[in-house]
Symmetry: C2
Subunit: 308 residues, 2 copies
């Protein structure tokens, strides 16, 4: 089964069109969990990596039957170097072992053989002395379109060959995204041109549920643009970041869904994984119950999304 059909099936099964952003930071992890690792490994990247992995495993154990997918953000791991990247890879592997779809938020993009290396490492196979190995093996990754179609081809090839998927950055959730993405070219903003390109790239990879393996990132913080894109791109599945902490609410994301309530998955990171620290949940959960608080927040988010 392709990644896109798998993800849509998981959304139906859990009745939950949301992704949990596994974007750990040391300041959202309870002190009691961190102390032992700092004691064992010192204030080192190794300690941070072990803390993140433990935190993620507890989160995944609490969430795997309530949400369809997780979206680890590799920057949060990469900032601790190779030990962080190892924790990222082990997080991906553990999430997959629990039946979750995994969107690797890596935003890679490069030219020629370099793009091939990213595509092979993340959503294909890397060859080592005649043996082929799946290295990161996310179900989906996010990619940056600025370098054009030829730079995107290695990713598209691997989507077709391995049944994987990509989310092309079309309209990002940051306040300043419009500076480049809204530039008018022939009367049309750039993000729409990129949106159409994504649809074109994915037109021969439409799965049995009507959506292509080539998907789009469309920020929750831009509801009007989202509505235009939803109409324009009937076979393009959306990943919608910016829900919760970044300011997007349930009413803002509704424009990302199709008329049957499908076609999109909404990401929340801190709102779920740091729920135990938020006003809403802090009274009901102790720090060591961070995973239970996350589950509660994920179920509340599901209800909010199902209401609209």
């Amino acid at each position: 089964m392709t990644s896109i059909d798998f993800l849509i099936g998981k959304i139906k099964q859990t009745r939950n069109p949301s992704a949990v952003g596994l974007d750990p930071r040391l300041d959202i992890v309870p002190d009691a969990l961190k102390a032992g690792f700092f004691k064992e490994f010192g204030n080192t990247p190794r300690a941070a990596a072990e803390i993140f992995l433990r935190y993620n495993i507890e989160l995944i154990d609490a969430l795997f039957d309530a949400v369809p997918c997780v979206k680890p953000q590799i920057a949060m791991y990469e900032q601790y170097g190779w030990e962080g990247v190892r924790a990222y890879m082990e997080t991906v592997r553990y999430a997959k072992s629990k039946g979750l779809a995994v969107i690797g938020d890596v935003k890679r993009g490069d030219v020629g053989s370099t793009a091939e290396a990213y595509a092979d490492g993340h959503i294909g196979e890397t060859e080592i002395n005649g043996e082929k190995l799946r290295v990161f093996d996310e179900d989906f990754i996010t990619i940056n379109p600025y370098l054009g179609t030829d730079a995107t081809e290695p990713f598209l090839r691997n989507c077709a060959a391995y049944g994987k998927g990509v989310f092309v950055l079309v309209k990002t959730s940051n306040p300043g995204s419009g500076q480049i993405q809204d530039i008018l070219a022939g009367g049309e903003p750039l993000y729409r041109i990129v949106g159409r390109l994504a649809a074109e790239w994915g037109k021969d990879m439409i799965g049995c549920r009507g959506y292509s393996s080539v998907c789009a990132v469309v920020g929750a913080t831009h509801p009007e643009q989202a509505a235009v894109l939803r109409d324009m791109l009937p076979h393009t599945f959306f990943l919608v970041p910016g829900y919760g902490a970044q300011g997007g609410g349930a009413k803002d994301v509704k424009f990302c869904f199709d008329k049957n309530g499908g076609g999109a998955v909404v990401n929340s990171s801190r709102g779920i994984i740091a729920a135990w620290k938020s006003e809403k949940y802090a009274k009901r959960f102790r720090p060591e119950e961070f995973a239970l608080a996350a589950r509660e927040a994920a179920l509340d988010m599901r209800e909010e999304l199902n209401r609209i």
Copy 2:
């Protein structure tokens, strides 16, 4: 000293405005060097990582007094997972220990706190339990501008705070770069708008040699656009990929230099690091002399560049 002043000083000292792209692939490493590692570690990412590191160390030892800087491309390492990233980090560290400037070709770009994580990990400091640590610590990295100014700010902040530099993707060297980058917006192609943005981002970080810490990637394969950008951006230093294997020649890159022959560094990857396999050098060097062949190719390239 800031990275940009350091790099320009190194270029003058070596009389060589070129960067060596440390983009290893297993098929450019001589069998004799690989065999021992495959025997010890099997056909594993560990073996690939150890091979790359050994290859790079020999290259750096042969090149460090002939070239001003190296540009490792992280994708080539990342495709082997965390063990590859470790080899990348050790390559950066070794190159710096030999006095080379290091441009980390990572092409990162993301929003808000995620961009901060990339910026802190690569060209700043990552905090772990109150201690601050330099993790990747390249002198420069390449960044993708598609997300806009607010997404770029964490990188710019670290340029100012740590004396580091960034190369903003303005006009990439791939044949299809024009699809997005040449789109006309108000009669002007997007890459020029991005070029001006880069100049604006860097206007308060101009070093003692007249160039800013905020630099630009301008492909050797587009000489006409390069000439326009060179005129437009008098304080923006260029990294020029696409020389050699990608089709750009010495006459194409000359437009990237200012009237004093400064303002740019030209990258060659395979042309240098795989010289021992090329027609031109294969007759004179045995496979185990790959580092000597690379040195010879680097000196030949210096001569070509100094001629124009």
